[in-house]
Subunit: 356 residues, 2 copies
Amino acid sequence: MPTDPQTRSDDELLGQFRARKRLALARAISIVENTRPGFQRLLHELHTEQGNAQRIGLTGPPGAGKSTLTSRLAAEFRKLDEQVGIVAVDPSSPFTGGALLGDRIRMNNISTDPGVFIRSMAARGSLGGLATTTNEVADLMDAYGCARVLLETVGVGQSELEIAGAADTTVVVLVPESGDSIQAMKAGLMEIADVFVINKADRPGADRLAQEIEVMLHMRLGDGSPAAAGHHGVSMRSVGKAARERSRAVAEEQGAWAIPVIKTVGQSGEGIDELVRTLDRHAVYLRESGELSRRRQARLAERVRAVVERQLKMLAWVDGRGEEMLEEALPALESGAESPYTVAARIVRAMGLETP
Amino acid sequence: MPTDPQTRSDDELLGQFRARKRLALARAISIVENTRPGFQRLLHELHTEQGNAQRIGLTGPPGAGKSTLTSRLAAEFRKLDEQVGIVAVDPSSPFTGGALLGDRIRMNNISTDPGVFIRSMAARGSLGGLATTTNEVADLMDAYGCARVLLETVGVGQSELEIAGAADTTVVVLVPESGDSIQAMKAGLMEIADVFVINKADRPGADRLAQEIEVMLHMRLGDGSPAAAGHHGVSMRSVGKAARERSRAVAEEQGAWAIPVIKTVGQSGEGIDELVRTLDRHAVYLRESGELSRRRQARLAERVRAVVERQLKMLAWVDGRGEEMLEEALPALESGAESPYTVAARIVRAMGLETP
């Protein structure tokens, strides 16, 4: 039975991918990133081959030194002879396209290391949503054999937090200048952090920030309501060091993960060894506590939802007549003769569906 | 012909809304926010009644003082006897729920003013996406008779930029401590700003930041490639003040909008009058240049797309068997017997659609 050219070329790519041809990984990533024909089959075929990498998300405000930390970590993992994937998500404008990647490339020569795979992703125009595509690219790096996949996101918006939070281990990077830790909580960082890193810790204010985060983590362990304390103006300092250490010890006794606060200096490499040890310790914790399995299950369910929604969008806008119908309706929309709701309902019905 | 209870209650609400009952606006907003039955009909019915408000987006990094500025602006608009709607989008965690709103409520007493309508929106779990719901709430405030609707977003992520950027007029708020203006560009702020505000301008560095932004705006007007200059290390200072003023004059002559950089001190109210004048000037520019119509057309098309996608999601997950099928598939997903792609395809087919 003859196979069509598309399937034949897909199979060829799969073969080269499985033979660990570097170029095949790059091609596979491009296919997935651009949702080109065959991208879903590719991901489906490689699905069972992924799941071995530790996915480490790094997030934090701009200027926190995430890129430097990422390349430092990559260099450490390379010393262990592990292959490393790096996905740098830059959700910002075309203006800055590639700037970050450029910064990283100049660092530590990791870009010329054949055991390091770097991909930077831009936000705009992705039909499937940035988070989904980022995770799919991580899947490919994982299936290819990377022992660690670093997902670095710039910015502190909700979508960036979601991307980083979808990793096995999420590292939140702050700097002394990040301002008071209340700001960090506002950005939702507190919820997703498995590890806090205070980078540029040679600058003034590092100890104070570390202490404030420790206090907040303590309050969270305590009554589960740090926000309440914050709102009512309870001083951060009012929770003593002894109490904090006690609650950390209790958490660890109970087999829970006590979120560490690690000080690093990305430029000099100070604290990187402790960060690597912590990441390894978290990987063990995730496996042994069953948390890894829980997180991955949640991720699988989320992925199914995202893939369904992407398929529906493709059916509406790419395969279907949606864009055309929208175009035709524009004059009536502008004049007010139609509302977006009647036009949308017509497009959905044209797909053969009953509108909700 | 008897009408069903749902339609009757919807009609009653519409009547009260059109009679400008404050409670009806609040109820309508809740219905839309929670995509409760009848929400689309409500928006459809009120569609032709909106379009009179100036929608002003305020965005910028956390701590830039957007809430203070927002309440200052609201107070100014109230002096003109305009009704004001405020939608504060807090895309962060449940931890901070209401904190921002609380801050604002304590300010300037705008919350007790019956001519000011404040709604704060949280990010999570919205089926339609935060940007769509935010714009729909703005539609309601607009249809109700607010002359200005202020859309304030916290954070500098892509989604927050999109929300602010969907306004008629987008104000980007920075502070001297925002760091160098390159950071502002990285966050994509440069692309969406109609007006730059440097708030807390009584602090050191305000003039320098203003100058840097002016230079970047100049370069953008010039060769359209500020990024290139940045990448190649051209000094910001190398573009003289005279050249910048010349390019601004040329832009204005050509009927273009020369993006102003305004210094304010939110706490004292300094510069707010200039900001209000600038917003009014921008409203005139938008109308006279045809840009308002262009922006609103683009927004209408975007709204149709969003409504279609929300309807498709509702069909998959609320009306359809999607969640149930996903639930059933979880064991096979976990064991690797199935991939997210086969499960997703099955859910899409169960909706009566051919998978793409």
